[in-house]
């Protein structure tokens, strides 16, 4: 069993084989770590890849971030959103590009969760709500990578969900011995994602296990739940996981605040539903 697990982990982390990850990503990652790099220099690297630039600008102007005016240059986007958010957008648009075939509806679910994560962060008065949006955007990325790297196992997971009426996460654990949350954690290390994003990706199903930046895990946990209640897209589940009461209260939510959040979600929902980032 342990051997099989290690083998599966290796297969999943052969993520460099994924045809969709743009070569500039490594370059950008290195540049971000170099504190002397300016937004202009990074923007120039991204701008070399025109398809990628167009995708990034499309995402930046999406309902997920909801800027009141159009952002037309990569440099402006970097200044507004920060390097990490831009890198998260590059990873998500690249990986999710193949997603429409790999797991139907997961991209829409992720966009919904990202938008709602941002709305919750704003309603709670937290700074940098975009950081929460990008965590929401990437929270199920492990599911796609499993679907791409282990397609047979993914079929098995889907069958088990239907047959035993269990959650997708429960089925993943039965079939693989680990869930997409674990895969998320490996991927976050592999891509060297910032800690708050990693925490959200790893612990959005059990935020109480997070030791720091737990707010990121908690907000994505609640946003994921709301996205599933609204059935925006398809996460692979037609069964709700338990919404953690402790986390709900901990981040300062109440039903009154939830109603306000829902109002804002409904205001923006048509834009979310009609947004197809191609």
């Amino acid at each position: 069993m342990e051997d099989l697990r290690t083998k599966r982990k290796g297969k999943i982390l052969a993520v460099k084989d994924l045809p969709t990850l743009p070569p500039v990503l490594d370059e950008i990652t290195k540049m971000i770590e170099d504190e002397h790099c300016t937004p202009k220099q990074i923007a120039e690297v991204i701008a070399k890849d025109q398809v990628l630039s167009a995708k990034v600008l499309k995402m930046v102007n999406s309902p997920v971030y909801g800027f009141p005016r159009r952002i037309t240059t990569i440099q402006h986007a970097i200044v507004l959103l920060g390097f990490n958010v831009i890198r998260g957008i590059i990873i998500s648009t690249s990986v999710f590009d193949v997603m429409s075939q790999a797991m139907v509806g997961l991209w829409e679910h992720s966009l919904g969760c990202a938008t709602i994560s941002k709305i919750i962060a704003e309603e709670l008065g937290l700074k940098d709500p975009e950081e929460f949006a990008v965590a929401g955007l990437l929270h199920d990325i492990g599911k796609v990578v499993i679907a791409i790297q282990l397609p047979e196992e993914k079929e098995e997971i889907q069958k088990l969900v239907a047959k035993e009426d269990i959650t997708y996460l429960e089925a993943e654990k039965k079939v693989l011995g680990f869930g997409h949350d674990r895969v998320n954690s490996w991927l976050a290390d592999h891509w060297n994602l910032p800690l708050p994003t990693k925490v959200a990706l790893t612990y959005h199903h059990n935020p109480e296990s997070a030791e720091f930046y737990e707010k990121f895990a908690k907000i994505v946990h609640v946003a994921d739940f709301i996205t599933k209640v609204l059935e925006i897209g398809n996460s692979g589940d037609e069964l709700l996981n338990t919404l953690s009461k402790k986390d709900f209260v901990d981040i300062g939510l109440s039903f009154k605040k939830l109603a306000k959040i829902m109002d804002r979600v409904l205001e923006d929902i048509i834009e979310v539903l009609t947004f197809i980032p191609k």
Binding site: P63, P68, R69, R70, T72, D165, K228, V229, L230, E231, I232, E238, L239, L240, T242, L243, K245, F255, L258, A259, M262, L266, E267, D268, I269, I270, E271, L273, T274
Partner: protein
């Protein structure tokens, strides 16, 4: 207040938020009642969505594949494994009341 695609906007609707140009300048102010001549200006600026007062697109019956009535109908199914959890029943009750209220509201605003 609702964000709607420009092609669904009609004269007589009132802007709940200002429409901004790319440089951040206000193109049309909040509170403006839309007139026919506004639409060509908005199109020319590449504006795709505007925020208007009220809920002109009825989410109760459904628009763009989303319907509050369907949401309400799906609650029992989605919460089916949580029938013995008092907290989750409370959460379900919240959404039930919320969706019911919104459906009613969309009817009266029509």
């Amino acid at each position: 207040m609702q964000k709607i695609p420009l092609d669904k906007a009609k004269a007589g609707m009132v802007l709940a938020k200002p429409v901004l140009k790319e440089n951040g300048m206000v193109l049309i102010a909040e509170g403006t009642e839309l007139k026919e001549n506004h639409f060509s200006i908005l199109k020319k600026q590449g504006i795709k969505f505007i925020v208007v007062k009220g809920t002109p697109l009825d989410l109760g019956e459904g628009a763009y594949g989303f319907s509050l009535k369907k949401r309400l109908d799906r609650l029992d199914y989605l919460f089916r494994k949580h029938q013995n959890d008092p907290w989750m029943q409370k959460v379900k009750e919240f959404f039930k009341v919320y969706f019911t209220y919104q459906i009613k509201k969309s009817k009266t605003e029509k």
